[in-house]
Chain length 74, copies 2
């Protein structure tokens, strides 16, 4: 499994547990809407600082977005 794909899946999963649109997550994280889209589709290769910003916005530990297991973002 490509790590980018894994990150994308995790971001999307946690985002949906929040009931957020991509645009809402973009607003919360300070990143751009189309960039969030690219990350979730696994076509972008985010840096660790972006990973952190995403994790902060989603209120989960950064490692959650790298893991295969169940995200703790209930």
């Amino acid at each position: 499994m490509d790590i980018r794909k894994q990150v994308g899946l995790n971001v999307q999963r946690v985002r949906r547990t929040r009931g957020w649109s991509q645009e809402e997550l973009a607003f919360q994280s300070g990143l751009h809407r189309t960039y969030i889209s690219g990350i979730e589709r696994g076509t972008r290769n985010p840096t660790v600082t972006v990973l952190k910003e995403l994790a902060d916005a989603l209120a989960v530990p950064p490692r959650t977005l790298l893991d295969l297991g169940s995200p703790s973002g209930g």
Copy 2:
């Protein structure tokens, strides 16, 4: 704690448990020695794919390099 600093500390810690020099890790990961140096000092902002290559070379799960806790690398 800056996430880049945290990654650097973790890379360095795991590398040393392997008894490897930066040059050895550079060889194992296919990255440049000076680039490893920059990451360990927290002056570089690696992407998730680089994080994965490092984790692979060090034989630890990628999330290990983001965590604050004790690395599981040996």
